[in-house]
């Protein structure tokens, strides 16, 4: 049984896994790229090794180097986190071949579910409803895709067979725009997962995205931990998730029916460890299998907060060959949890990614608030990786309390140095449709505009005018001051360096 785990990832999820190991007395090994020497996961791990240059393909996607490190430092297990190598069957296989425990499903399950085309065939065989799309296996040529498209009908989605999280995904409204979109999707998939294969799927409009958390042990005990509502997306990127789903809410029968199907899908591939079954659900509560994410999910914490189970701890437990610590009937969702993904991007400028040094960071704290992050004051946000820098999770006795708590937590969150989407979330949690829990996967793109949202809000232009004027005044005074006193005066140093920070 392993007592040292290598975490083949970075950022908040690497930190999350290190914490779980710490709490089990398992030693941790971090790997890092040249861009991440100062990253939090390096500081918190027991050991840390450089594996290559900043670009993922030269570091976090280098299976060979990562496995070499594991062998060198005698880490008998590897946790892949999400993204990077998490859904690469060849990586899971390579670990197995080296006698290293891959903390996740068997390579065969990744192969079956990781390749979305095979996955669809598999679950169809198990009698599970799916969204119409390309039935045949991966490796489809552009020609094959263009030929299949009209049969499926437009609008449709191009999706990465290896992928998830909206990467390598494109929406197609007509055949003539399709060729370009395919190549765009392929190259995005290639860089994200090292695999450019894509497939097609009919676009179910006005649908909700609801997923079920699965845990399975080596004895085949397979349970679900209830659902997560992930419909609040922008360009297929999840932004805010909640558990339970306000759409399912207290329809326990509906929940258990979907949960049973999710468990059935997992069992269809003899699933092991943590995974997620994603469903599309239409207004009439028809649901279709969308895909299975054969890994830990970004939004797993909201399930932890409402079920009380620690999913990562459970992953390690199961990987060590022990049984799940709970049975299906022990799983109850209590209270309500919401997660906001805090991204370094400018919500006022088309969500352009924002990079730079975080000069000041003050996280929300207090009751019912959890922050999972890999950044800190003084950390440089580089352009090489995902823009998600933090997950703000709140739990409350009710959905209403959770929303009120999220509002105060968002207002407390201060990040200086990079732009973030916090104001976007602050507007979302004020929206009537969100409060009513009445939103689908198109809500953000079709029904929400930050500008309009702000019109509704109570604003304080006069206060803003005073603040701006006082800052401008201060600047004027200071620049005068600089000229007056000159650089020799050491007493200038402190505020000058402060001033430099202010203008980063």
């Amino acid at each position: 049984m392993f007592d040292k785990v290598l975490i083949a990832n970075r950022g908040e999820i690497a930190v999350r896994i290190i914490r779980a190991c710490r709490e089990l007395g398992i030693r941790t090994v971090a790997v890092f790229s040249e861009a991440d020497r100062s990253a939090l996961h390096i500081r918190l791990a027991d050991e840390a090794y450089l594996i290559g240059p900043a670009p993922s393909r030269d570091s976090y996607l280098r299976m060979d180097k990562i496995i070499d490190v594991a062998k060198k430092c005698k880490a008998r297990a590897i946790h892949p986190g999400y993204g990077f190598l998490a859904e690469r069957r060849d990586f899971a296989q390579a670990c197995e071949d080296e006698g290293i425990t891959f903390i996740g499903p068997r390579a065969s399950a990744i192969a079956a579910m990781g390749d979305k085309a095979i996955a669809r065939a598999t679950v169809v065989a198990a009698g599970i409803p799916i969204v119409p799309g390309t039935e045949d296996v991966g490796n489809l040529s552009d020609e094959a895709l263009l030929k299949a498209a009209p049969k499926i009908g437009f609008p449709l989605l191009i999706k990465a067979t290896a992928g998830g999280g909206g990467k390598g995904m494109r929406e197609v409204r007509s055949l003539d725009e399709m060729a370009n979109l395919i190549s765009a999707a392929r190259s995005e998939a290639q860089s994200a997962f090292g695999d450019g294969n894509v497939y097609l799927e009919k676009l179910v409009e006005g649908a909700r995205h609801i997923e079920f958390q699965i845990m399975a042990d080596m004895d085949g005990n397979t349970v679900h931990l209830g659902e997560r509502e992930c419909s609040l997306q922008r360009r297929h990127q999840k932004l805010l998730e909640e558990a339970p789903s306000p759409f399912i809410d207290d329809d326990e029968d509906f929940r258990q029916r979907m949960g049973a199907v999710a468990v059935k899908a997992a069992k269809a591939v003899n699933y092991l460890n943590a995974g997620t079954i994603e469903f599309l659900v239409d207004k009439d509560k028809n649901f279709y299998f969308l895909e299975m994410n054969t890994r830990l999910q970004v939004e797993h914490p909201i399930t932890e907060e409402v079920t009380g189970f620690d999913i990562v701890t459970e992953q390690l437990r199961v990987a060590r060959g022990r049984q799940l610590s709970f049975k299906q009937e022990q799983v109850k969702m209590q209270g309500w949890a919401i997660e906001c993904r805090i991204n370094a991007e400018d919500p006022y400028n088309n969500f352009l990614p924002s990079t730079g040094l975080i000069s000041h960071l003050s996280s929300p704290k207090g009751p019912g608030v959890r922050v999972d992050t890999g950044v800190y004051a003084g950390f440089q946000i580089s352009p090489y990786y995902d823009s998600m820098i933090s997950k703000l999770i709140v739990r409350g006795e009710s959905r209403a309390q959770a929303i009120l708590r999220m509002r105060r937590a968002l207002e407390e969150y201060r990040i200086v140095g990079v732009k973030t989407n916090i104001p976007f979330h602050q507007s979302i949690v004020e929206q009537a449709r969100f409060l009513a829990g009445n939103y689908d996967t198109r809500f953000v793109e079709e029904r929400f505009s930050l500008e309009h949202a702000e019109e509704g809000k109570q604003t304080f232009p006069e206060i803003a005018a005073i603040a701006a004027t006082l800052v401008a005044h201060q600047q004027a005074e200071r620049s005068a001051h600089i000229i007056a006193r000159g650089k020799r005066d050491t007493s200038n140093w402190k505020w000058v360096s402060r001033w430099e920070r202010m203008h980063r």
Binding site: E462, A467, W495
Partner: protein, 167 residues
């Protein structure tokens, strides 16, 4: 005693800094207390007892961005003392092509010291606009030739109204 004109979107405020703890906004005097947090561009602002936290940083096209209680306010502040639009002013923005001089605030045109066809240098005064009892020189952001003067002394203009162009 410093006087400024602060513009938030369409709203314009004459802000006079009376002393460290008092400002006059459009004739109304407020008690204020303004502190930088941890030497960061995050400020704790007390206005007549109301407590606000504002993150104030330079905007992409000049001016200042004020992020407060989940809303972003694009501000431009004009300094009366130096009788010019600060770099933050809207006039500073355009750099190439035809420069269209617009009124940064509603007011009265006091003087247009140039004629169509005049060659002007960067910084030359193109117009003087009186607003809230302050006269503000509007300068040319670059060298060029004056075209299409659309106002004359005595005209009152709205905010953003075109005054003239420089090619």
């Amino acid at each position: 005693m410093a006087k400024y004109i602060a513009t938030i979107g369409e709203k314009v405020y004459a802000v006079e800094i009376i002393d460290a703890h008092h400002v006059n906004v459009n004739g109304h005097i407020y008690e204020v207390d303004f502190q930088s947090i941890s030497g960061q561009p995050v400020f704790s602002l007390l206005v007549d007892g109301g407590s606000y936290q504002a993150h104030v940083y330079p905007g992409e096209e000049g001016g200042l961005q004020v992020l407060m209680r989940g809303s972003l306010y694009a501000a431009s502040v004009v300094d009366e003392r130096e009788k010019r639009l600060s770099a933050a002013g809207s006039a500073g923005a355009v750099q190439t092509g035809e420069f269209v001089l617009r009124a940064p605030m509603p007011g009265l045109v006091v003087k247009v010291p140039v004629n169509e066809g005049d060659a002007v240098k960067k910084g030359s005064v193109l117009a003087i606009l009186e607003s809230m009892k302050m006269q503000n020189e509007l300068n040319s952001p670059r060298d060029g030739k004056v075209t299409r003067i659309q106002v004359k002394a005595g005209d009152s203009v709205e905010q953003r109204q075109t005054l003239l162009s420089v090619e």
